[in-house]
């Protein structure tokens, strides 16, 4: 087997996310959003990224406000607690901090685009978005007819992100990882990607991960780097590890209402701390402890015996 891919988040982002890359994040919808990785992308001043993800709950808004994104391919960009994303609005309406190209999707079409990418096929047809203006204004789509029935179809072209970043419950140093809870487009996005950055809540020995090969998310040869970053999905929830910190979403929404307010938020919570443990230190241990599960709900083991 290959060598350890375990690196710091700083090194991982420096190496795996070049300027101009297409980066898929937030693949489990409102849960397991890789905020730690997103903040490090901002700290390293990455530019001209294409952000790909279904709904992105607040993370894309932060990256857009920080000037990291040139294009967004998404079904929804905002703040699930509060609705609109102020930076997304400023970028698209006023070009602040700079203009942003938007390719609108629905959750279904984004899922099919990544599924097509994971299968290595050029597109998948659907009847969703027929008659929707999304199909008219996102020129990546194509109208077609079902060659059997003649019925109208929309062809959704494959997406193959340069990088998919996932936050998972546990991984080994080689890149084998376990993720559970609703998966959204996580598996498709990981398999469609050219390379995957795995950020893990816990690092486990390989034998304990491979004791359940059915739960392994993707083959490790697709994994470019593994990062151990506890609480790395905060303030989004991670099943079995922590709940959602709703206050963070509300506070961000309130403080990012003006660009100056957003810059102050960014200085305080992202640029100031310098790294993720620094950010967690600002929150304080009690706030984090309050998000820990109160009950354990363990699953039954599977027997792979021979």
């Amino acid at each position: 087997m290959s060598a350890s891919k375990l690196v710091s988040l700083r090194d991982a982002i420096a190496r795996v996310v070049p300027d101009g890359a297409s980066v898929c994040m937030g693949t489990a919808l409102e849960a397991a959003i890789p905020f730690a990785a997103g903040h490090e992308i901002i700290r390293q001043g990455k530019r001209d990224l294409t952000l790909i993800g279904p709904i992105s709950d607040m993370l894309f808004d932060q990256l857009i406000g920080a000037g990291a994104a040139g294009r967004v391919i998404a079904a929804w960009v905002g703040n699930v607690s509060a609705g609109l994303g102020h930076n997304y609005r400023r970028a698209t309406e006023q070009g602040e901090p700079h203009p942003l190209a938007v390719a609108d999707h629905s959750n279904l079409t984004l899922s099919l685009a990544l599924l097509a990418g994971s299968l290595g096929v050029p597109y998948i047809p659907t009847r969703s978005l027929l008659g929707s203006d999304i199909a008219a204004t996102n020129h990546d789509f194509r109208a077609a007819r079902d060659p059997w029935s003649g019925a109208p179809l929309l062809l959704v072209p494959a997406l193959r992100p340069d990088v998919t970043i996932v936050h998972v419950q546990r991984a080994d140093a080689l890149g084998h990882c376990h993720a559970w809870g609703p998966l959204g487009v996580t598996r498709e996005a990981a398999l469609a990607a050219q390379r995957v950055l795995v950020v893990a809540e816990e690092i486990w020995p390989t034998g304990r991960i491979l004791a359940d090969p059915n739960l392994v998310l993707l083959p490790a040869f697709k994994v470019a780097a593994v990062v151990h970053e506890p609480w790395g999905a905060f303030p989004s929830p991670l099943q079995g590890y922590y709940g959602r910190d709703h206050a963070s979403f509300a506070q961000y929404h309130a403080e990012s209402g003006t660009f100056e307010g957003f810059r102050a938020w960014l200085d305080r919570w992202v640029l100031g701390p310098g790294d993720w443990p620094g950010f967690l230190g600002l929150l304080g241990p009690e706030r984090l402890a309050g998000l820990r599960p109160r009950r354990r709900l363990p699953s039954e083991p599977l027997d792979y015996g021979v």
Binding site: L108, D133, G181, R244
Partner: protein
């Protein structure tokens, strides 16, 4: 003494009544998640909730607070299935979802919704968050219920951008563009309830909430409102129903 229902609590109760027992319902978040919980605990105990993050649930989440998102851990624990968006959306495109709830920033008389752009999409005046799964639910559910706050500037003659197609420009439109689902059946607002007419596909006022009237509804709607011959006041939830709704939103995050 129980406080009387808020407009949003009335909406939740009205939405719950749209759910038939045994149905598979694309739930979404906010008010519909409360409506699903209410229906499940009253007349529709066999209803199933589907969530686009990959969940299927029977019993509503076991909570001591508010469910902010469908991916909050209490919505996962006790789920019947935790899977991928593609697998859930596959059930939807197979025609296996009876009812879907959606909302938007703008709606028109044919139940088309805009959740994308106000103004020219290339240079929008307001960039809204987008479809999420809303357009998929609108296109593919057998039946759609729209829930949104009512205001004249949001209830427009024709939406500027059709994110989630309703009945398009009227009868026959969905068939023409190839949409398999039945489209909007009901529009539940902060002021009343509209039902989409089977023939004309137009939203027809079916009931106004307590304190409202046909006139106040007309004043808050940007198209000339057709009124059902049997228009009446929206039924008020019982105290028991109200208690169930409030148990799911104890801080009133979504309903106050």
């Amino acid at each position: 003494m129980t406080l009387g229902p808020t407009a949003r609590e009335l909406m939740v109760a009205a939405a719950a009544r749209e759910i038939r027992d045994g149905e598979r319902v694309f739930v979404g978040m906010r008010l519909p998640i409360l409506a699903f919980a209410l229906a499940q605990r009253t007349h529709a105990p066999a209803a199933l909730g589907l969530f686009e993050n990959g969940l299927v649930r029977a019993a509503p989440a076991d909570l001591d607070g508010t469910l902010y998102t469908m991916s909050d851990p209490p919505n996962v624990a006790g789920a019947l299935w935790s899977t991928t968006t593609a697998n859930i959306m596959g059930l939807l495109e197979q025609g296996g979802v009876d009812l879907g709830f959606i909302g938007g920033a703008e709606v028109d008389r044919y139940g088309n919704l805009n959740t994308s752009y106000v103004g020219d999409p290339r240079q929008p005046r307001v960039k809204l968050p987008g479809s999420g799964g809303g357009a998929d639910i609108a296109c593919l559910s057998r039946r759609v219920v729209i829930i949104m706050p009512q205001a004249r500037h949001r209830f427009v003659e024709q939406v500027g951008y059709r994110t989630s197609p309703g009945h398009g420009d009227g009868p026959g439109w969905r068939e023409r563009v190839g949409l398999p689902g039945g489209g909007p059946a009901t529009l539940i607002t902060t002021l009343g309830v509209f039902r989409f007419d089977e023939q004309s596909k137009e939203a027809v006022l079916a009931s106004y909430h307590p304190g409202q009237s046909v006139d106040t509804l007309r004043a808050a709607t940007g198209w000339s409102v057709r009124v059902a011959p049997d228009v009446r006041e929206t039924p008020v939830p019982t105290d028991a129903e109200l208690a169930l709704v409030r148990a799911c939103d104890p801080q009133g995050v979504w309903t106050r």
